[in-house]
């Protein structure tokens, strides 16, 4: 019975299929850079950080500190299927947007915009976070409302302000595509039947966890090569981790985030209403205006900055912190500002050095390769536009 149903769906799909011939697409049998294919045929991350330890295995601390526990163990097929999905506009409601529209490899896996622009030109409300090193994260979105990459995926896919799709339309369009049916079968060989939403989310998560950036000049310094950082960058590192600036108290190495919710009191761009952030998710008035601490890896590649793009460049962000506690909090609003938000009175030179140091966190060695064509036959979203 089930077998018949599958055949029927397959026949329907073939009849209605458009775009390139299914045989044009194959999935890679090798793991992405940085991953070892184990005897079990899955991809596991390998990094020098695995030679270090961290307190309570939390992956937080100083230079030679291990990373937090991470997601890996997907098959090369699943990862490569995720890559096709990631770049395919068929995932959006009107076939114009892919994940890569807002997480563009040419723009630090973000989009270079203050706030993302969704379907029909909608303002998505917040900035697209970079996807670098999401394999190590436990919370997703600026307000930390999802606890897995799979759960995160439903946010943009089905938001009317973002990709504007529906669960039914997404499954219908993928199941109606013979290439995708074949590729999903390859990636999920033990699951018979039509493509499921969980398979889609798994494949996207598999691809996203391959986006690893741990080979910056800072990392070389960590692993023992003092000359990897310039004098200015080392000065910047020392200001960054000093207890005057206190940047590293929340942007904690090695990922440069401690993944906590912090109430910073950053301004909104002119004309934008105050964003309560995590308060709405956790129903905690004390977390009004709280957002997840973002990673600073590849930060020089992802301007503008803040949850809503209030800052055009990195120097602007550092200057904001240097202007003192609460300098942009709206009048008549009480926020429980984070205790590390102080009045550091850094000199202009120290501010410059921090910006210099942040530039040493850039590493895009493992940037993914966008496919030239995608199985839907839709034109892939253009990179860097």
């Amino acid at each position: 019975m089930i077998r018949a149903l599958v055949l029927l769906i397959a026949a329907m799909g073939t009849a209605g299929a458009t775009g390139p011939a299914p045989t044009d697409f194959t999935l890679k049998t090798t793991c992405p850079p940085g991953f070892e294919k184990t005897a079990a045929g899955v991809c596991e991350l390998r990094t020098l950080y695995q030679f270090y330890d961290s307190l309570e295995n939390r992956g937080l601390g100083g230079t030679r500190t291990s990373l937090p526990p991470h997601r890996d163990g997907f098959t090369p097929y699943q990862i490569d299927l995720g890559r096709y999905l990631f770049f395919d506009p068929v995932l959006s409601g009107d076939g114009t947007l892919s994940c890569a529209s807002c997480h563009d490899p040419a723009r630090g896996l973000s989009d270079g915009r203050p706030r993302s622009i969704g379907i029909h030109g909608e303002d998505a409300g917040r900035a697209a976070p970079t996807l670098w090193n999401v394999a190590f994260l436990k919370r997703f979105f600026w307000d930390a409302r999802a606890d897995s990459l799979e759960a995160q995926a439903t946010g943009p896919l089905y938001s009317p302000h973002e990709m504007g799709n529906t669960p039914a339309q997404l499954l219908e369009s993928l199941n109606g595509n013979a290439t995708y049916r074949r590729l999903f079968q390859q990636a999920f060989p033990n699951q018979r039947g039509p493509i499921t939403d969980q398979q889609i989310f798994t494949a996207l998560a598999a691809f996203e966890t391959s986006l690893v950036s741990l080979n910056s000049r800072y990392d070389r310094y960590v692993h023992g090569y003092d000359a990897a950082l310039s004098e200015r960058e080392i000065e910047g590192l020392n200001v960054f981790r000093s207890f005057v600036a206190r940047c590293s108290e929340c942007h904690t190495p090695p990922l440069f985030t401690n993944e906590q919710i912090a109430v910073i009191g950053m301004p909104e761009p002119a004309g934008r209403p105050f964003d309560v952030g995590a308060e709405a998710i956790l129903h905690a008035p004390k977390l009004k205006g709280g957002f997840k601490v973002p990673t600073l890896r590849n930060i020089a590649r992802t301007a503008p900055y803040s949850h809503s793009g209030a800052f055009a460049d990195l120097r602007g962000v550092v200057e904001f912190y240097n202007k003192g506690r609460g300098n942009a909090v709206p009048k008549d609003m009480h926020l429980y500002l984070h205790w590390h938000i102080s009045d550091p009175k850094l000199t202009d030179l120290e501010v410059d050095r921090i910006v210099d140091f942040l530039g040493a966190l850039t590493d895009e060695t493992f940037l993914p390769q966008p496919p030239a064509r995608v199985p839907s036959g839709l034109p892939p979203t253009k990179q860097g536009e």
Binding site: G62, R64, I234
Partner: protein, 507 residues
């Protein structure tokens, strides 16, 4: 600021009052225990395959055997220059003199040892311009015999270094924290004299297995603070004229969520009445000046054998997050101080000028006319216990049980023997470097940024050293590929290991 920590107490006070009227009446029988007899607290720390010493063995050193390589820094020279030049496993002796610098240590087994001559020390002077005196992230770090003054950030700050020893230092007027190891495991902070610090003189943050002993801390906002840390013993310290003496806190919003198993014993906690000069918004700015010991949301804190006297608000305050006005919230942190254990202490003349809210609590507890206050508890504190409670003036501890032990004699310390460095086989390192770095540009048989590994194998199969040498100083070999960036940041041994690994991969 005073009001911050105990706002909302009045509501609680009314509730206690009702309890007094209708509940208890008459004098309780005295239950008297001897702390020289009876069971001993066994501690909360169970070593888990870490090669820990058997309980009872005193550990005096955690940083391992002293290195034999010694360099000397003289007045007028740079300590940092010596650190930079030092191989791991070096003692840097710093001669008396004045050094204006920030010293950072990002490698293992470095010891910075001041030489004291006729009372003259090596002085690190930040002149109120420099941020921190010492920043370390390396393991097995030791700092001894230094004098540190006039820094704006911290005196000595650790970020994730394990097995640290910080002793015999004099730190004054040096910013936010005097000594602040953070995210470290297995450390000793002892025999330091720390004063004039705008937050905690000694602050153990998010760290495990710690001994803080024999320090003299004074004239600071907080004396010794154990925050979001586990298995810490704080003993034999002289803690005086701070706003708050000893603190065991859970600060919400940190990535490590609890404070568990802290022993405060045999300390002198005396006259901690200094006006609170904590920075606005800092956690400690909410401490009522005049607090001997403050427990906020920490679990399993044992208080034993201390002399706690002349702290004008209270000898001990036990509270939770809800009663602290300037404390944020964290759904992942338990806001209550669970299982506080108060054993025998000498408590004299505390609470002689306490705050209004505490007076209300005393009244509610039926302590009409009390002129002192030794222990006050606001907020839930489930599972707590006390012995010989009749000797203290208390408010809010009526529901504490009798402890089923009277002392901590069996818990000598929570330190671990020096953990030998992890052995990493060259082959393993070669594989990880190959996968973690080389594969960004090279695949086995395809064209990427660099040529395929198969091609490299054909060229170097019998010559791994040649390949190791090439990657240190690559030259442009192929017109159709970009020149390879040098991999000289890898040490020679690692370069050879990765070359050998690359030459044998098969896919």
């Amino acid at each position: 600021m005073k009001k911050g920590l105990v706002v909302g107490v009045l509501v609680a006070a009314l509730a206690f009052g009702a309890g007094m009227l209708f509940g208890r009446s008459g004098k309780q029988d005295l239950k008297i225990s001897s702390s020289t007899q009876g069971a001993s607290y066994s501690g909360g720390f169970k070593a888990e395959g870490e090669g820990a010493a058997p309980p009872g063995a005193a550990i005096r050193s955690v940083a391992g055997p002293a290195p034999t390589n010694v360099v000397v820094v003289k007045d007028g020279e740079s300590i940092q220059a010596a650190v930079k030049a030092a191989p791991k496993g070096t003692i840097i002796r710093v001669m008396p003199g004045t050094y204006h610098e920030t010293v950072y240590i990002d490698k293992d087994d470095i010891r910075i040892i001041g030489v004291i001559e006729a009372g003259r020390r090596a002085v690190l002077d930040g002149e109120k311009k420099l941020n921190d005196a010492i920043l370390y992230s390396g393991n097995n770090f030791v700092a001894e015999n230094l004098e540190i003054r006039n820094y704006k950030g911290n005196g000595i700050m650790g970020q994730a270094g394990n097995n640290f020893e910080i002793r015999n230092n004099v730190i004054a007027e040096s910013g936010v924290y005097g000594i602040f190891p953070q995210l470290g495991k297995n450390g000793i902070v002892e025999h330091n004299v720390v004063s004039g610090i705008a937050d905690a003189a000694i602050y153990i943050g998010m760290s495990d297995n710690i001994l803080v002993a024999n320090n003299d801390v004074f004239d600071s906002v907080a004396g010794i603070e154990i925050e979001n840390s586990r298995h810490a013993i704080v003993e034999h310290n002289y803690v005086h004229n701070n706003s708050g003496g000893l603190l065991a806190f859970v600060t919400p919003g940190l990535p490590i969520k609890d404070t568990v198993d802290v022993i405060f014993r045999n300390n002198f906690v005396v006259g901690n009445n200094h006006p609170n000069f904590g920075a606005p918004g800092s956690t400690v700015s909410g401490i009522p000046a005049g607090t001997g010991i403050l427990i906020m949301a920490a679990d399993d804190v044992v208080i034993e054998g201390n002399v706690i006297s002349d702290n004008k608000v209270s000898g001990i305050i036990i509270t939770d997050h809800a009663h602290a006005q300037n404390i944020t919230t964290d759904p992942e942190s338990d806001p209550n101080s669970d299982r506080v254990k108060i054993l025998d202490n000498v408590m004299l003349r505390n609470g002689y000028d306490t705050i209004t809210e505490a007076k209300a609590l005393l009244l509610a507890d039926g302590k009409v006319g009390a002129k002192n206050l030794d222990i006050v508890r606001v907020g839930p504190s489930p599972g707590s216990c006390i012995i010989n409670r009749h000797q203290y003036v208390t408010a809010g501890v009526g529901d504490f049980a009798e402890c089923d032990f009277t002392n901590t004699a069996n818990t000598v310390n929570y330190l671990l023997p020096p953990v030998p460095p992890r052995e990493i086989k060259p082959g393993e390192r070669g594989k990880v470097v190959y996968l973690g770095i080389c594969t960004g540009c090279h695949t086995y048989n395809g064209r990427m940024i660099g040529p395929p590994v198969q091609v490299i194998q054909a060229l170097y199969m019998e010559n791994p050293q040649g390949l190791a040498d090439f990657i240190a100083k690559p030259t442009k070999k192929r017109d159709d590929y970009p020149e390879m960036p040098p991999q000289d940041y890898l040490d020679p041994e690692t370069r050879l290991a990765v070359a050998k690994y690359m030459l044998q991969v098969t896919n």
